[in-house]
């Protein structure tokens, strides 16, 4: 069970306070009508789904009701950073990858 830092409440809270909200930094196309069906499908359904670092959104549903971003490793579940919507992620890739080599199985 994860412990997630809410950048708005500025403290760690238990996972059960949050709801997962999918891949982060997907921008809605400004002119959907100008997209091909293929491009629209890409926006709708196709996801990175990486084995490794993932930028994702969480919603503090039982807390401050804010969405925010989390950079988390999908194998170690280690959280590298959590940051507000609109902020850019900082990557600490090496740290997380080191961990994965331990975990790989």
């Amino acid at each position: 069970m994860l412990q997630i830092h809410c950048p708005y409440c500025q403290e760690y809270r238990e996972e059960e306070e949050f709801s997962y909200a999918g891949q982060a930094h997907i921008e809605r196309p400004s002119e959907p009508e100008s997209l091909t069906d293929q491009e629209w499908a890409q926006y709708l359904f196709f996801r990175k789904n990486p084995r490794g670092l993932h930028h994702e959104m969480w919603y503090h549903i039982h807390g401050c009701k804010q969405f925010f971003n989390v950079c988390r490793h999908t194998v170690t579940y280690q959280i590298i950073s959590s940051y507000k919507i609109g902020d850019r992620p900082e990557l600490e890739q090496s740290k997380a990858v080191d961990k994965e080599s331990i975990n790989a199985n």
Binding site: P32, E33, D37, N105
Partner: protein, 1002 residues
């Protein structure tokens, strides 16, 4: 008669005699006993029968590894299947029985079959037979199932309660042996918040049976002092009888505390077990080590035990489980068992040391006591049936691979064995880390992770090094969790002992090949033998995971604690690999089995999930409502009167509403307060229709789609003022819609100035509907609610029954309707005033079912019933709710333009009239055009809503049908399970008042 009870010693209270029953016989033990120690004290040999071969089995260990003494404990509703006797504290009148054996464990009918059939049951035999004919498997299976399984489930609901507690601490120490105790004391002196837990009744672990000297007092005396200190320290929480069952991400552990199990079967008004969930800054693993048995011929005959278990029974329980002992060991530590046996006054026949002659302090100690030590030998085979009566020992070579001389027989009744120690590292691999093999200690230790390990779990076994490690690790843990490390606690004086190196031996060789030798058990619970593992390897099951799955090694309730390392070693040898090359299976939670009720905690029965109530709930109860679960809400479904059937009640409710006036508690509808200058623009983007021109005081129906173009919620939104709207949502969709609005606002359009606040709970909503609804309203409201002042699809501020209210003139029934919203604190009060006012019109409360019928007569949809996540507004013939001219491409719009959503033969909403007008078509019935076709039939749609209409006098339905809107007038068929085929005609989905005159009524 406790024939094996010593007259002195042990941590038992001889003044508290406890009676207990085992397999129908009554015995006595003492307070402080476990069930296992009490059985051994009474000389009970056979405690169970093995699963596959029905061999008699006795108590083998004194801890969580126990594979044989697995019982049914307790009676009736409070019976527990499968607890280990070694971990069951004895209480007065405890009732226990073996889980296998018929008619009983002493005389088991299956044993004969086990002996004969055993030869035909190599590992995986069931994959190779019982296949023909196919139809017979279900019969074979019945027999197999009967033979399998251990204990019985209780047959009535659990009388006990459970709960959960959340903790956050600086240092969590798992294991209350001396390493953990010292770590806790040293960490706590820095000021850190410490929790320490131990699975046993008593803290102390292995040191409880130690005979060493510490600071010039006995180790047990010294230990008591430390424990006393521990309990005095305010910042240490000590949890006994508390097993850590799992280690989870981000340093969370789950602990199962058995609060009352030691007191009796059922202790009223208390929590039987509690799960502690501890989120720790730093976790210290001080879980110790388990002794490993050796694998030798007939090593399962009662009387074969772990060496360390013998010391534990003698030192902790004053029980000596036999008369004549033969001890086989690969290491020094097991000598203690023979010394304890000897000191207790019974005969040690010999110590069989598998090592070439060696010397150490403890070997000398044994020699000094006159115990016969035979080096370079092994017990290759045991004789006996329900108890060991002798052993064959034989000389072996230095690597332990072969027998190199003839066997000799030694008479004995107990065989202790020790193959060394296995660190209890299970928790360390719960997150996926693989253990590491260490040749020097001949065991796996935890792999690298966030845990700190100390004591035996990290391969340190000598008391002095364990204490040193505990202190150092406790200090480090405090430091890592942010505390300043002080001067560590002093190391006590312990005289180090000269030891001899252990030998790496797991599987004792026999004169015969493994496949022909007497059975050499590796996993007792699943009757997995060394021969079985070798056979699995021969057949190509080489990965240790394959070996495990093919032979069932480690699948018992001990999770392989006793046998896994031996199994890995046998596999390694048979594949000519090293143990680290062979690897180990990953341990998963639970460390030991955990009660399901404890995991569920208090979330059972009425607390399984929250039930939400409206302000009128008590009124509904008093008026006999039947309730429907809608999401978490309890909504009145209908209000049967005087023994009415549901159908009668519905007819009455419907007619009353259509002909006079009905009243509905609609408080559960989601309500979201939307404020800000960009509220309109936001609504434009989120709804499919346009909101730019909705005037103040007006209401509008809207549909929301997901970005895939499919409807996901609907409701009426009203304009309070240019910057202020109130949105309603479906009952089940309220939370989801709020999250949806926040998602778009916070992540895509933060520039829009708008705030959303849920006000679902603030407003009580009561809908009065029917031709007399205005008359009722006018009795309790002096505001002008005429058509001119309050036209259809508008709202006003008003005072209703003396309470400030918002009245919305919107209609879900097609009748003249008013939705009256008042603050919920006054909801019940206003409701009662309206009921009083409506009495002269026989105002009739109705529930969700009548609401559904009335709306369906009008062709109004229920999202989630008439739609299923694959329906667009166009499919519902609701093009009127789509605004083509909005500048912003609203959510979902683009998706309507895809090939599949553009098709004109999509399923579309229509009405259905049954040919037999009294026949209510079943909801969910599938629709076909040709009822005579063969299976599989081509289905063109299904019935989504279907009712008998009281006011129309016939049945009707809503359906989704392919190209439905162009099929009005066509006949379709609904084939039923019973062979009947209903006929129906496709028609408009609006059955009642198609022109909408009634809701616009003067």
């Amino acid at each position: 008669m406790q024939i094996n009870r010593l007259n002195h010693g042990g941590n038992i209270d001889r003044n508290q005699v406890l009676s207990f029953q085992f397999n129908g016989m009554t015995y006595q033990g003492y307070q402080g006993d476990t069930l296992a120690s009490a059985l051994l004290a009474n000389g009970v040999n056979v405690v169970g029968r093995s699963f596959k071969y029905s061999r008699p089995r006795g108590i083998m260990t004194a801890d969580a590894q126990e594979p044989n003494a697995i019982f049914q404990i307790g009676t009736n509703a409070s019976t527990i299947p499968n607890p280990r006797a070694t971990q069951t504290p004895l209480y007065d009148n405890l009732v226990a029985s073996s889980t296998n054996g018929w008619p009983n464990v002493e005389f088991d009918m299956m044993a004969g079959i086990g002996k004969l059939g055993g030869a035909m049951m190599p590992p995986g035999f069931y994959y190779k037979t019982f296949m023909y004919p196919q139809s017979m498997w279900m019969n074979y299976e019945k027999l197999i199932r009967k033979g399998a399984g251990l204990g019985r489930s209780p047959m009535t609901a659990d009388p006990d309660r459970y709960d959960t507690m959340h903790h956050h601490c600086d240092v969590m120490i798992i294991g209350g042996g001396v390493a953990g105790i010292m770590a806790a004391l040293n960490a706590a002196q820095t000021g850190a918040n410490v929790i320490i837990c131990d699975e046993q009744e008593q803290l102390g672990g292995q040191t409880l049976s130690s005979t060493e000297t510490v600071n010039d007092i006995t180790a047990t005396q010294w230990l008591s002092q430390q424990i006393e200190q521990l309990r005095k320290q305010e910042n240490i929480l000590v949890l006994s009888r508390s097993t850590t069952f799992g280690y989870y991400d981000h340093n969370l552990i789950g602990i199962n505390q058995r609060c009352t199990d030691h007191l009796g079967e059922h202790v009223p008004h208390s929590t039987r077990q509690r799960v502690h969930k501890v989120r720790a800054k730093q976790i210290v693993l001080a879980t110790g080590a388990h002794e490993r048995p050796l694998v030798y011929g007939n090593n399962d005959i009662p009387g074969c035990m772990l060496a360390n278990a013998i010391s534990t029974y003698i030192q902790c329980y004053a029980v000596i489980p036999g008369n004549k002992l033969v001890l086989m060991t690969t290491n020094d530590s097991a000598y203690q068992a023979a010394i304890d046996w000897h000191d207790a006054g019974r005969q040690v026949m010999a110590i069989i040391d598998t090592r070439p002659k060696t010397d150490s302090a403890i070997i000398q100690q044994a020699q000094n006591k006159g115990i016969n030590i035979i080096f370079s030998h092994a017990v290759i085979e045991v004789q006996g049936s329900k108890r060991v009566n002798s052993v064959n020992i034989a000389p072996i070579n230095n690597t332990g691979d072969n027998v190199i001389g003839p066997a000799i027989n030694i008479v004995c009744d107990t065989v202790a064995s020790s193959g060394g120690w296995s660190p209890v590292l299970h928790l360390s691999s719960h997150l996926g880390q693989k253990p590491l093999w260490r040749d020097d200690i001949i065991g796996f230790v935890p792999g690298q992770n966030d845990l700190l390990n100390c004591g035996a779990v990290s391969g340190k076994y000598a008391l002095l090094s364990v204490i040193e490690d505990g202190i150092a690790t406790g200090g480090k843990a405090a430091e890592l969790s942010g505390f300043e490390r002080l001067t560590d606690l002093p190391i006590p004086d312990i005289i180090p002992q000269i030891t001899a190196a252990p030998m790496a031996l797991f599987h004792v060789p026999h004169i015969q090949t493994t496949s022909r030798a007497p059975k050499q058990f590796v996993d007792y619970q699943n009757d997995v033998t060394a021969a079985a593992i070798e056979l699995a390897n021969r057949e190509g099951f080489e990965s240790i995971e394959h070996v495990k799955r093919y032979t069932a090694l480690g699948f018992g309730t001990d999770q392989g604690k006793l046998g896994n390392i031996n199994g890995i070693a046998i596999t390694a040898k048979s594949l000519a690999k090293t143990i680290p090359e062979t690897g180990t299976t990953i341990f998963r939670p639970m460390y030991t089995p955990t009660t399901m009720g404890a995991l569920a905690g208090a979330h059972v029965k009425q607390l399984f999930a929250p039930a939400r109530f409206t302000a009128m709930h008590q009124w509904h109860l008093q008026h006999g409502a039947e309730f429907e679960d809608v999401g978490q809400w309890k909504r009145p479904w209908y209000f049967p009167k005087n023994g009415e059937s549901m159908q009668q009640a519905l007819l009455r409710e419907c007619l009353a509403t259509r002909n006079s006036v009905g009243i509905l508690d609609a408080s559960t509808l989601g309500k979201i307060d939307i404020q800000g200058k960009d509220a309109r623009e936001f609504l434009n983007r989120i709804y499919t229709n346009a909101w730019s021109k909705l005037g103040i005081g007006k209401c509008r129906y809207g549909v929301m789609c997901k970005e895939d173009g499919m409807i996901f919620d609907d409701g009426v939104t009203s304009c309070i003022n240019d910057h202020h709207f109130i949105m309603t949502t479906t009952t089940g969709g309220a939370a989801g819609v709020l999250q949806w609005l926040e998602l778009w606002h916070q992540t895509e359009w933060p520039e829009l100035e708008v705030y959303f606040t849920s006000v679902t709970d603030h407003w009580t909503t009561m809908t009065i509907s029917g031709p007399n609804s205005r008359k009722v309203l006018q009795k309790v409201c002096q505001d002008d609610v005429s058509k001119q002042a309050l036209p259809f699809m508008s709202w006003i501020d008003a005072t209703v029954a003396g309470v400030k209210a918002r009245i919305f003139r919107i209609s879900f029934t097609g009748e003249l309707s008013f939705e009256i919203n008042v603050p919920a604190n006054l909801g019940l009060s206003v409701w009662q005033h309206i009921m009083d006012a409506g009495a002269e019109f026989e105002i009739t409360p109705y529930g969700t079912e009548t609401m559904h019928i009335l709306r369906a007569e009008k062709g109004f949809i229920i999202v989630g019933q008439d739609t299923d996540g694959s329906v667009t507004p166009q499919d519902l013939d609701m093009n009127w709710v789509i605004s083509p001219n909005k500048s912003f491409s609203c959510i979902g719009k683009r998706s309507w333009d895809r090939i599949d959503t553009k098709r004109n033969d999509r399923k579309q909403m229509v009405g259905l009239k049954a040919k037999d007008t009294n026949q209510v078509l079943p909801e969910g019935a599938q629709i076909v055009l040709d009822p005579q076709q063969k299976l599989p039939m081509t289905m063109v749609g299904h019935v989504t809503s279907s009712y008998f209409s009281a006011c129309l006098g016939y049945s009707f339905a809503l359906a989704l049908v392919k190209s439905g809107t162009s099929r009005y007038g066509e006949t379709v068929y609904l084939p039923q399970a019973n062979g009947q085929i209903y006929e129906a005609e496709i028609c408009s989905p609006i059955f009642y008042d198609p022109k909408g005159e009634r809701q616009h009524v003067e």
